[in-house]
Every structure is written in structure tokens, then in C-alpha cells.
């Protein structure tokens, strides 16, 4: 049996304290322990981006991060993007632009897209293409996804927040 460690962090704005096995990855903690299943397990080894979350505002693969490494940090998962006012600008853009087919890659792509928009609200299409290199999608051929993120850039220019 591996031992556990008590850690605390903010998850989608809520203070969270749990005990995690020290060899657990952050993705397993989020999905299996905290039961937030929006974040997906695709490859488990950094290739597909389905597990992308924000840690202190930075997009990372939760499958390649130790859960204990979340201690003291601020985590945002796909469940944390919508506000009482509704879906985020990028979530709306994904729906409006048909960027979702089977939907498996979508939470990861929306998190990565959100990160890119917050880093650089003036993203170009070239920036978007490079920025989603770490997210695999088997359905859309990426074009609709790129259009959705580009549309969000446009909405943000008009005053929306990423």
C-alpha cells in the first residue's frame, strides 16, 4: 500500500482538502476521488490533451502531474468555466460553430482554448493552430474548433471575458 498525503487547494473556486496516495496523478484525483468527470482520460501519457486543466491559470496535462503537486494551488476544470450568468464565451462558441462531435476531446480543447485566450486575447489563427497542438480530436478535423476559438477572440474584442 502506498501512503497518502493530505493536501489542500482551490478547485473551481472552492477550498478543497483531501488525502491522496502519493503516486496518484491529478487526473485520477479529479475524476475518481472528487468525481468531476468532465476532465477526460484519453492516453494517460501526455499525447492527447483530453485531461487538460488549469493550474494557477496555466494549462497542463493533469495525467502527467502528481496529485500531491496540486497542494496549495488553484485548479480549474471544465466544470469551473461556466458562471451563474451562463456558459463561457468559448463554450458558447464551441456550440455555435459545431466544434463538438463525439465530445470526448472537448473539455480539454475548451480548457486549452481558454488558456490561450487569457494569455493572449488577440490570438491569430496561426497562434490557435500552434496552441492546440497538444490536443487530439478524432472527429472534427480541427477546423471547426479553430473557427470557434477565433470567434471567441472576436467576442472578447467586443467586450466579453474569456
Amino acid at each position: 500500500m502506498s501512503i497518502t498525503k493530505a493536501i489542500s487547494f482551490t478547485l473551481n473556486g472552492q477550498a478543497t482538502r483531501i488525502e491522496v496516495p502519493v503516486d496518484m496523478d491529478a487526473l485520477t484525483m479529479i475524476r475518481d476521488v472528487l468525481k468531476l468527470t468532465g476532465t477526460k482520460l484519453g492516453c494517460g501519457e501526455g499525447e492527447c490533451g483530453a485531461c487538460t486543466i488549469l493550474v494557477d491559470g496555466t494549462a497542463v496535462n493533469s495525467c502527467l502531474m502528481f496529485a500531491v503537486d496540486c497542494d496549495g494551488r488553484e485548479l480549474t476544470t471544465i466544470e469551473g468555466l461556466a458562471t451563474p450568468a451562463g456558459r463561457s464565451v468559448l463554450q458558447r462558441a464551441f456550440v455555435e460553430h459545431g466544434a463538438v462531435q463525439c465530445g470526448f476531446c472537448t473539455p480539454g480543447l475548451v480548457m486549452q482554448g481558454t488558456y490561450l485566450l487569457r494569455q493572449n486575447p488577440g490570438l491569430t489563427v496561426a497562434d490557435i493552430r500552434r496552441g492546440i497542438e497538444g490536443n487530439l480530436c478524432r472527429c472534427t478535423g480541427y477546423q471547426k474548433v479553430i473557427e470557434a476559438i477565433a470567434a471567441a477572440v472576436h467576442e472578447i474584442e467586443k467586450g466579453d471575458r474569456a
Binding site: I3, N61, L64, M65
Partner: protein, 325 residues
């Protein structure tokens, strides 16, 4: 055996002491280590988080003569640093094409230099090859299209780091610390070939860490380039990478540094190519000849002969790019 402890020491000395424990393994971003644990080829008993003992600063030091990169700086931080871009553009190019944006946000430059090989036999639990302490090399007769074309007689891994060839071409110095004395080591003495020890990729002993990378600022006239080819042009490992640093002289090149990555168990400088380039004017013919010379001692395996041609093309391409042609 699963890990039974996680420790986050706050100082280098403490980290070194903890790493001296049986089964202790250091972890920076964890992107390489966690992957090996998932493949069950690594089973630490003690995880020592190195982030409290290392720093992530990127700054000018030595009165503005050198650039210092703390080993815990992420690849994204290095790629995004205006200081690094201004003085060491080939290093930026090398790290910004490594892995994916998310991995670059987690993975550190120290971890990039110390990551273990990506040979698919090495990463698969069932293949106990000589690098894992077993016998033989499965790649020699097996699936070897991504393997080494130099120095591959015993084990045919390619060193996976993108940063390494760039740092080699820039003659970087590494700061080592932790167990033993704190010292500086030329990057040329850091990597270990198979003939020396087939079970390790660098000289680090347990408890010794890379603490920093130092680079002397080049003269303003120095030009550099990094070129690589991948099977897919995004989210993939380089098949071959080349970093070049050129110092122009009055007639032709005063000095040229040419380094290859992903073609041998260690990143390699190419002294014969460099000697040939000295005092030459970099025409396309000269660059092509340099590419030829770079492959003179290649010993490709059954499936990776194509890498020899990639080396020719990329050496030429990187040289011409650096020369602005």
C-alpha cells in the same frame, strides 16, 4: 513496489540528503517520471519533489556577461523569455518545438536534460534490455526506425532532449549541486555514451542535481539556427535535430559549432564538420558538403537509413538559415 513517501525539501542540501535514501527519485515537473511509473519501469520508494530546492529564474549574471537559467524553469518559460530569444534564439526554437504546450508548461529544462530515453523497448515493462539492467538490445534486430544512427552498437537509444543539441552548440555550462561540492561542468562532459556506461545517460550520481544552466553571451555578430524534422509536424518527437552557431570572421567563418540531436545515445558535436567550415564562406555548396561530412561515420540499422539523408538536409538547412541565405 509503490512509493511510500513524498518529500518536498526546501534546500538543495536537504534534497541531496533525501535523494541518498534507498529508492529515492527526484521529481521536477514529473512529466517524464510519472510516465515511467505508469509504464511500471520505475517504482520509487521515496518521491523527492525538487521544486523547493531548485529555482526557475532566468536572468543575466556575471555583470551581464552570461545568462543563467534555473533548472526548474519550465520549457514554456524558456521559450517565452525575451532574454533567451535575444541572445540564444536557437535554444528558443529548440524548446518551443518540444512536446506540446501543456507539457512545456509542466516540464522543466533540468528535467529535459535528465529525462530517460524514449526507446519503446526501454519504456515497455516486458523488455528487460541491457539499459534496464537485463541483457541484449531488442532494437538491434527489432523495430528500430526511430533509433540511433551513430554509436548504436550496444544500445541504440537516441537522446530525447531538444534542448541538449542547442545547449551543446552554445557551449553551455551546467551548475551541479546537492551531494558533493557545488561545481560547474561543461555540457560537453555531461552526457555518457554506451561504451562508458549503458545504464545511464549522464554523469549525475544519486543526490547530485543540475541546478542551473549558464551561457556566455555571444558577440552580436554570432548567428545561430535550430532545425528539426518530425514525422508529423506538430506534437511529435524530432527524428533528427541540428543546432548551429556561426561566428563570422573577416574572410569566411571564424568558427562554427554544429550539434546533432536524436541520432545517437548522446547529443553530438561534429568536430570534423566544424573544422571543414572554418574560414569558409557559407555557400549552398559548402553547406551541402558539411551535411555530407556530418554523415561520414553513420552506421544506420535496418530501418533508420532515412535518418542519414535527413541529417544531410538538416545540417545544410540549418547552416544556410543561420547564415541568412
Amino acid at each position: 513496489m509503490k512509493p511510500f513517501a513524498y518529500i518536498r525539501p526546501g534546500t538543495l542540501e536537504d534534497a541531496a540528503r533525501q535523494l541518498g535514501g534507498r529508492g529515492a527519485v527526484g521529481c521536477a515537473g514529473g512529466t517524464d517520471l510519472l510516465d515511467r511509473m505508469k509504464e511500471r519501469i520505475e517504482a520509487p520508494r521515496i518521491l523527492v519533489d525538487l521544486k523547493g530546492a531548485l529555482d526557475a529564474r532566468i536572468e543575466l549574471v556575471d555583470g551581464g556577461q552570461a545568462l543563467r537559467i534555473g533548472a526548474a524553469a519550465t520549457l514554456a518559460a524558456v521559450a517565452g523569455s525575451p532574454l533567451v530569444l535575444k541572445h540564444f534564439p536557437a535554444l528558443v526554437r529548440a524548446v518551443e518545438t518540444a512536446a506540446t504546450p501543456q507539457i512545456r508548461n509542466l516540464g522543466t529544462i533540468g528535467g529535459n536534460l535528465c529525462q530517460r530515453p524514449r526507446c519503446w523497448y526501454f519504456r515497455a515493462r516486458d523488455f528487460e534490455c541491457m539499459r534496464r539492467g537485463g541483457r541484449g538490445c531488442y532494437a538491434q534486430e527489432g523495430e528500430n526506425r526511430y533509433h540511433a544512427v551513430f554509436g548504436n552498437e550496444l544500445c541504440a537509444i537516441t537522446h530525447p532532449s531538444n534542448a541538449a543539441p542547442a545547449l551543446l552548440a552554445y557551449d553551455a555550462t551546467l551548475g551541479l549541486g546537492g551531494a558533493g561540492e557545488t561545481r560547474r561542468l561543461s555540457i560537453h562532459e555531461f552526457f555518457v555514451g554506451c561504451d562508458e556506461d549503458v545504464q545511464r545517460e549522464n554523469i549525475l550520481e544519486a543526490g547530485t542535481l543540475v541546478t542551473e544552466i549558464r551561457l556566455a553571451l555571444p558577440a552580436a555578430s554570432v548567428r545561430a539556427a535550430y532545425a528539426e524534422l518530425k514525422e508529423k509536424q506538430s506534437n511529435d518527437w524530432a527524428l533528427v535535430s541540428v543546432a548551429v552557431v556561426l561566428e563570422p570572421g573577416d574572410a569566411g567563418l571564424r568558427r562554427a559549432a554544429v550539434a546533432l540531436g536524436h541520432v545517437a545515445p548522446v547529443p553530438m558535436r561534429m568536430p570534423e564538420v566544424e573544422a571543414y567550415l572554418e574560414h569558409k564562406v557559407l555557400t549552398p555548396e559548402v553547406a551541402a558538403r558539411a551535411g555530407e561530412l556530418a554523415t561520414a561515420h553513420a552506421t544506420p540499422l535496418a530501418q533508420n537509413g532515412y535518418k542519414v539523408q535527413l541529417i544531410r538536409v538538416l545540417v545544410k538547412r540549418a547552416l544556410l538559415e543561420a547564415a541568412g541565405r
